[in-house]
């Protein structure tokens, strides 16, 4: 099994000496779904954002698909990684002034120099896969939150990424819209995509994750298979967190 992401002793400090990441070490294998859980402020979003260079590092090193990121990496390395790693945000972050189709085809045309027609064909296929083909010519604000997030997933997939990062993809959604997004992610996982998912969705983690990583105060508390994590977590802090989540 080959490693997609290897993080070694990552450190990220904010002002006043607060450490958002305090020596995080982990590996994500190709084809694996890693779910990252933890209370807010535990550093899980910061961690996943270092994987494609949205957050800089103060210490430690990352190997993402063979490209190295550390405290002094060049912009070129970040660009290389971003072409091969997709990201989905809590707030969708679709481009409001572009149609759904243009949102999806912009990067393939500009970054990968694909022909417009081919990029649009691929975009329509992806929208089909997400069950929102008929929304292609609308604008983001005309779509529901769940539909927008599925567009965001399609937009990231349009670059044919080798890894997908999800930063609390369902946290900004109305409860009745959560399922459609999780279903799309489930489908992606079944197709063998390497995924790192920061989420509070216990059901998704239990069902889809290969491993669950629990973080607190910038540190990894434990990493277990979902069965162990949810029924018999090793660490007291994990058990306390799960207890609070279930009430």
């Amino acid at each position: 099994m080959t490693v997609a992401i290897r993080a070694t002793d990552l450190v990220k400090s904010y002002s006043q000496g607060v450490r958002a990441l305090d020596g995080v070490t982990l590996e994500v294998n190709r084809g694996e779904v890693l779910v990252v859980m933890g209370p807010s402020g535990s550093g899980k979003s910061t961690l996943i954002r270092t994987f494609n260079g949205l957050e800089s590092l103060d210490g430690g090193a990352l190997d993402v698909l063979g490209v190295r990121l550390d405290a002094t990496h060049a912009e070129r390395q970040v660009r290389e990684i971003r072409k091969r790693v997709g990201m989905v945000f809590q707030q969708f972050n679709l481009f409001p002034h572009l149609s759904i189709l243009d949102n999806i085809t912009l990067a393939p045309i500009k970054v990968q120099q694909r022909a417009k027609a081919a990029a649009e064909q691929r975009a329509m296929d992806l929208l089909d896969q997400m069950g929102i083909r008929e929304q292609a010519h609308k604008y983001p604000a005309q779509l529901s939150g769940g539909q927008q997030q599925r567009v965001a997933i399609a937009r990231a997939l349009a670059l044919d990424p080798e890894v997908m990062l999800f930063d609390e993809p369902t946290s900004a959604l109305d409860p009745e819209r959560v399922k459609e997004v999780l279903d799309a992610m489930r489908q992606l996982a079944k197709g063998g995509m390497t995924m790192v998912v920061v989420t509070h969705e216990l059901g998704f983690a239990r069902e889809v994750a290969d491993r669950v990583m629990f973080m607190d105060r910038g540190q990894v508390v434990e990493t277990s298979d979902p069965e162990t994590f949810f029924s018999n977590a090793r660490e007291e802090r994990s058990r306390r967190f799960l207890n609070q989540m279930q009430h």
Partner: protein, 296 residues
């Protein structure tokens, strides 16, 4: 409460009417005093003065009307070029202030800070007397030649006066536009930057295709007033001897004594020019907002 408001309204109206009456009265008294009466017949008489810079053929034997037209064209030339260049400079400096590059960021911040501290008139005099008149004759790559006679650019001969006014207006207005652009860019959510970056798009492309289009609605109204300022500030050209509309009007008024008519023409010319600018910007604004509304 309502009565008091009504009273205030009536008071303000009375004050305005009073001021207007005073103005008209002054005008009438002045007209009688000059003994010339209000008339524009003098416009057809020969101007008798030379102009250093003429966009169309002009000789001192031509009429005042033609001299004023040449002045108007000179104004138009420097204003139009100034609008384009100031916009380019302002957008570049405004974008540079939100760049990742620290050197670029401080350069842009220094430029804005410096230019905003110094009066425009001083800046124009600086560009004229220090920068352009002090130029040695330097050819640059055969296409451009700089000298204290002006700038020769691809067969285009730009006078020192024109260059000083153009550069002065551009640099001065560019600094204000930079602040407006920076404000507009800052109003675009951080998530938009993160989204285009995570798709592998470069900073320049993201700025052009993602950030600036969303910043436009915040930028345009303030940009319009900067454009109008630039047009109005162009009358300072007289300080460096550029034959703009104001300078030609000034000479005309001195020679003919037709101050009232001269100023009326001047006012109307600038009114027309500024209506053109604000009308154009309003149309552009509507187009931008229209596109944005369709996306809502």
């Amino acid at each position: 409460m309502r009565q008091r408001r009504l009273l205030v309204q009536v008071g303000v109206a009375a004050l305005l009417i009073g001021l207007l009456a005073l103005l008209v009265n002054n005008l009438a008294v002045n007209l009688i005093r000059t003994g010339l009466g209000l008339g524009f017949g003098w416009l057809g008489r020969p101007a008798g003065f030379a102009l250093a810079e003429t966009a169309l053929p002009y000789a001192p034997s031509d009429s005042y009307l033609w001299a004023l037209t040449i002045g108007w064209l000179n104004s138009l030339k420097v204003i139009a070029a100034g609008l384009v260049l100031a916009t380019g400079l302002g957008v570049a400096a405004g974008a540079a202030r939100s760049s990742n590059n620290r050197l670029l960021r401080s350069l842009a911040a220094g430029y804005v800070a410096l230019i905003r501290q110094v009066p425009l008139l001083l800046q124009l005099l600086f560009w004229y007397f220090v920068a352009f008149l002090g130029l040695p004759s330097v050819p640059i790559g055969g296409l451009i030649r700089l000298s204290n006679q002006g700038i020769q650019l691809l067969g285009l001969n730009l006078s020192v006066e024109f260059c000083a006014v153009l550069v002065g207006l551009t640099v001065f207005t560019g600094a204000s536009i930079a602040e407006i652009v920076r404000g507009g860019i800052n109003a675009v959510p951080r998530g938009q930057w993160e989204a285009f970056r995570s798709l592998g798009l470069g900073e320049g492309l993201g700025l052009r295709r993602i950030v600036l289009p969303q910043a436009l609605p915040a930028i345009l109204p303030a940009l319009t007033s900067q454009y109008l300022n630039l047009a109005k500030n162009s009358t300072l050209a007289i300080a460096v001897g550029y034959a703009d509309l104001y300078a030609v009007s000034d000479t005309t008024i001195t020679q003919t004594g037709r101050a009232i008519e001269g100023f009326l023409l001047l006012l109307l010319s600038f009114l027309l020019l500024n209506l053109l600018i604000s009308g154009g910007m309003a149309a552009f604004n509507r187009a931008v907002l229209g596109r944005l509304n369709r996306s809502r």
